[in-house]
Amino acid sequence: MAASTLDEERELTIHPLVATSMQHNNQVISNIRNLTASLFGVAAGTLGLESYPGFIFYLAGTLLVSILLFVLKTETTPGKYFYRPLGDMWLGEVFGGLSGFVLTWTLFYGLVRA
């Protein structure tokens, strides 16, 4: 365990992480997530989804967005852009977009259905 953390530290000093680049990449992910979350909210509201189907729709949508990010934005090599691809790209900001989703979902559900 100790040896592996030492190796990791050494690796990080040889290939340092640039904080501004990381911030920029995370910002791009967060912007895409927020925008798509709001659009998913519009779709869910218009479709008239209620309670669990709505949240499942959101999770499915974020999964789709993650796949698109993986294929289009990182060109299937997320390790080049993210230190921890699983946490930063696949799961990053999933719950940050939830409030925007609920907002537009409620609005369009109220306008179209109820």
Partner: protein, 259 residues
């Protein structure tokens, strides 16, 4: 138990134009206003005299030496470390060397600390005033009727809050009054602000309250004894395990090209 009948309420379409839209627009505009108010209220840092700046910067220098130690060769790192540690221990960089070892004055009487507190007060005011104003406005104008139905069920505990002013006992909690739309916009408008104002805006009060709740080390800085900070930094430098980044570079290079 039989499934309860789904309650439907027919509402005037004008509710959208006269309630939902105004609240949303007001919330967006308040966020923008708050962003610019915070930008304007920010006090420019006061100009400090030379010894104070020297004291601050030399501490930062020690930290920088520690974080970037790996790019220095062992001999040059040792030379820098010896100099910094000695200077720290002698108190060479202190702003007023005479007051070394004396107890610190009360931070409340220090004008610099008061300045920082004023800044925090202003930030708090810029958050609290619009929030309470808008809640009062919504309660005064838009309470007492149901405006929309949430697409997800809630527990009955929310009934008193989200149906404030609607005095029906049996109404489903999913029917909510305008105050809940206010809460939804309060939490959900952050992406909108991001797109309008750029990513590091000061528009959303929720994120600001989170930032306020754990004040960083920067705020506590001026109240600490600089001499203690220096001695602490000297100790950190002493125990640092120095590894030169260029150590074994030949093997690494050969291995890279061989691969």
């Amino acid at each position: 138990m039989a499934q309860p009948v789904v309650q439907t309420i027919h509402r005037d379409p004008a509710l959208f134009w006269w309630i939902l839209l105004p609240i949303t627009v007001v919330m967006i505009l308040t966020g923008i206003l708050r962003h610019y108010a915070m930008t304007l209220l920010q006090t420019t840092p006061k100009k400090q005299d030379l010894p104070k700046i020297r004291q601050q910067r030399s501490l930062v220098r020690g930290v920088n030496l520690r974080t970037n130690a790996n790019v220095l060769s062992p001999s040059s790192f040792q030379a820098r470390k010896a100099y910094m540690v000695q200077a720290y221990q002698e108190g060479k960089f202190l702003a007023d060397p005479e007051s070394r070892g004396k107890p610190r004055p009360n931070p409340m009487s220090d004008p610099a600390a008061m300045e920082g507190m004023m800044g925090m007060m202003k930030g708090n005011m810029a958050m609290m005033v619009p929030q309470s104003l808008i809640m009062g406005w919504i309660n005064a104008f838009f309470s007492g009727f149901v405006i929309m139905k949430l697409p997800f069920p809630l527990t009955p505990q929310f009934k008193s809050m989200l149906q404030s002013g609607v005095g029906t006992r049996d109404l489903d909690v999913r029917w909510v009054s305008s105050l809940s739309w206010y809460f939804l916009t309060l939490f959900g408008l952050q992406p909108v602000y991001n797109f309008i104002l750029g990513s590091n805006n000061a528009a959303n009060q929720v994120t600001q309250q989170m930032a306020m709740s754990n004040p960083g080390a920067g705020m506590m800085g001026p109240e600490q004894d600089p001499d203690k900070l220096f001695l602490n930094e000297a100790e950190n430098l002493e125990v640092l395990d120095h590894q030169w980044i260029l150590e074994g570079i030949e093997e690494r290079l050969v291995a890279k090209f061989a691969a």
